[in-house]
């Protein structure tokens, strides 16, 4: 019994253990670091965009009071209700009136820096409410791009004292620009808006959804419920899985070579864009749909079959309604991807300068991500802010869609 075990915790052992523990701590810290880095980059990206973008929702405006009783512009509610009202106001010299009023208020130098389209704002205000022609009204009119740059501290040095003086007198200020959400593309950052691109995005998404959702759901139903196990089914499965992995720009090449060859007059139409994106989104919906259908327990199918339902009735009356929340979640995620997609749309010509919102599925349009891409090419400081503001709008939409998907998942998630 004199056998003695050697002490386990020798000095060497202690040293080795210490080393192993510190290596453990290093490893853990490394993992934490990786996560912190990713989250930091995300936060940095969002904060940069937000800080830049807040300026984009504002514009530099000159406050100009116009006394319409002195201007001699004649118009009544009837003539203004007609279609050429703005042109008729232009013919009556409204631009000069606005210019003169600006000169009275901020001097010749300041008036020269009034945005060239500022009078349209006044014209639209008159059309909307003709009674202002009988009184003095104060307008916030967009300043020129140069003055706007000078006000924010860069741009032409010559204009900076002017901007400073006007700001001190209270004539020049940055105001929230509600028009940013209602106007379309323009050449001047003071005049641009995103409504045209947003409307194009909405129209394109409608086409994408209308094509990709039914086709994707039906294909998923076929593959999961009816498809015989044979060579053809394998080919279909492989091609769907491959399509999900094809780079998006390849779909753009397909759209360019096939859709624009079939419909040569529809360059940059939401119809073609939607069709191209639908082909890209369809495999995503099929894969999500198959998973959702697979999750419906077989007992439900057996029960329905047992009371005499046909295979088609089983699927359309029982399986599909139960799988629908899962399919919808997948669809929303696929649509969110399509909403942010740019490259395939560049291929099919949705990169033109479109200054009016599209009025149908076949009129030229641009979409939000492409608008961001186009503005990002402009070197103007004003456009940098506008681009970030458009990015905020796009991200808000994506956040909404993802939030909806998460809500649907939580609301309808079932465990059988």
């Amino acid at each position: 019994m004199s056998e003695r075990t050697a002490p386990t915790r020798t000095a060497v052992f202690e040293k080795r253990l210490k080393k192993r523990y510190s290596s453990e701590r290093r490893f853990k810290a490394l993992g934490m670091g990786a996560i912190l880095f990713s989250v930091f980059v995300l936060a940095f990206l969002l904060v940069t965009m937000t800080l830049n973008g807040i300026g984009g929702f504002q514009r530099t405006e000159l406050t100009v009071p116009i006394d319409f009783t002195q201007t001699g512009i004649a118009a009544n509610a009837e003539t203004l209700a007609q279609s050429g009202a703005v042109q008729s106001l232009e013919a009556q010299g409204l631009p000069e009136v606005v210019q003169f009023a600006a000169q009275q208020r901020v001097g010749d130098e300041g008036a020269a820096e009034l945005g060239s389209q500022a009078w349209r704002l006044v014209a639209n205000a008159i059309v909307a409410d003709p009674t202002i022609l009988d009184r003095e009204v104060s307008f916030d009119l967009p300043a020129s791009e140069d003055l706007s740059a000078a006000y924010s501290g860069d741009g032409k040095a010559a204009l900076q004292p002017l901007a400073q003086r006007l700001a001190e007198q209270g004539h020049l200020s940055n105001n929230f620009d509600e028009g940013f959400l209602t106007r379309s593309d323009a050449t001047d950052p003071q005049e641009v808006g995103i409504w045209g691109a947003l409307k194009g995005s909405i129209l394109t998404m409608i086409i994408t959804l209308a094509l990709a959702f039914p086709i994707g759901v039906l294909a998923a139903l076929y593959l999961e419920e009816y498809a015989p196990k044979n060579h053809w089914t394998d080919v279909i499965e492989v091609s769907i899985n491959n399509l999900a992995a094809v780079p998006s720009i390849i779909f753009g090449l397909l759209g360019l070579a096939v859709f624009l060859w079939l419909f040569p007059n529809m360059r940059s139409a939401p119809l073609i864009g939607g069709m191209t994106l639908a082909l890209m989104t369809m495999p995503v919906i099929v894969i999500a749909g198959r998973n959702a259908i697979k999750a419906v327990p077989p007992s439900i199918r057996d029960g329905a079959l047992a009371v005499g339902a046909s295979p088609v009735q089983v699927v359309f009356h029982h399986v599909l309604p139960l799988a629908l929340p899962g399919i919808l979640t997948g669809t929303i995620i696929g649509m969110a991807r399509a909403l942010g997609e740019t490259a395939p749309l560049l291929m099919i010509g949705m990169r033109a300068f479109v200054a009016t919102p599209p009025d149908g599925f076949t009129s030229p349009a641009t979409v939000l991500p492409v608008q961001i891409f186009l503005w990002s090419d402009e070197i103007d400081r004003g456009f940098v802010e506008r681009t970030s503001a458009a990015i905020i709008v796009l991200l808000l939409f994506l956040l909404l869609m993802n939030g909806l998907a998460i809500y649907l998942r939580n609301r309808f998630e079932k465990s059988w």
Binding site: K28, I35, V39, L42, L254, S310, A343, V370, F373
Partner: protein, 461 residues
Amino acid sequence: MSPAILLLLALGLGLAGWLAARARAWGFKRASGGTRLAALPTYHAWYVALWIVVPVLLFIIVWSAIAPQLIVNSVLASPIAADLPEFGMQRQQILSEARAAASGSTTALFNPASRDFVEPFREAISRTNWIGIASTLAIALLGGIWSFLRLKPDFTARTRVERAVMVVLLLASLIAILTTLGILASLVFETVRFFGMVDPWSFLTGTHWGPDPMANPDNPDPTRYGAIPLFWGTIFIGAIIAMIVAIPLGLMSAIYLTQYANPKLRAWVKPALEVLAGVPTVVYGYFAALTVAPAIRDIALSLGAANPSTESALAAGLVMGVMIIPFVSSMADDSIAAVPQAMRDGSLAMGATNSETIRRVLIPAALPGIVAGVMLAISRAIGETMIVVMAASTAANLSANPLDRMTTVTVQIVKMLTGEGSFDHPATLSAFALGFVLFMVTLGLNFVALRVVKRFREAYE
């Protein structure tokens, strides 16, 4: 006549047929005193509606393809067409202008000769429209009456409708094959045209890339179409720089989240990483071009690099790596989670620390899944477009310096196809050849990745 109106007409007729057939089926039921029909009245209704709508839809598709040609032919058959200039641009222009005026989409006529053709066009269009409507009605009536007459109390409408449903389901799943074929056909067709002008060998092995869209298209200079610098730029940005960022960060994030993090942290961080994957690539591109690239240039300058570029490969690669992180981490997450708990417990019971268990047991066991994930990530990175279009350069450069300007396959595809070049020019067609290479490489990577998972993933029973 726009197809939309014919479509509405078809749907309206279908609805009418649906209602009529259902009423008739109820009639059978009442007449026979409540005995069971072979199918529910709704199925009779759907049967008739299908027989009306499907043939009409097929007709509309064919008709909208041939109607424009019919209109032109009937105009050309009229006597005044003899005055038209011979085949060529002018003839086309006159016809298309007159046609646009006749259909009311424009009012401006630039070519006086087209004025004479407006009236014939208008007549031809209205005649064709009437033929279209009349044929739609005739087909709908024929289909409707034929199917309506077949309705009987013992008619098995349901099996027939269900057969039609199965055909629709099959057709929907065939769209995937059709798309794949469409991609292949469009890429191969244009690529073959390109290789008719430029020798494939000099395209795949040449080291100078500088297509000139303004050069004479009939006699391209094959030495300007060497794609090696593009392939190198793509690999350097997408498969080297981006992966140096994405693999360690993605892997470590996945390890931390699955092995160390408490559920609360996990519930917050995992969605955050998913957001990172959901940010549109155009936003990453803007971020790279606006914030990252200038920062990298400034850092490089302060470190003493000689004229670093604002369009460096490093900026595009770094941002692309960040974009890929969630992709790698979710694949690694899945395959680590698939390793059975018993293996982990066994290692811990032997006295291994957590990190030793992870490095020596979990990672080797999960390796096939991780490798497959990395391959999928690479295939995604080399197909990524907007980040490189906005942040990388368009100058093809065969260099290993990450601060150099470099370009990628996708950048060149965008550049070639958004320029002014015509569709018959080798510079434009080269985009399709590049697209073909990209398609094959990404498919190959995906294929191998799936095989790796299938062949090497351990099956734990």
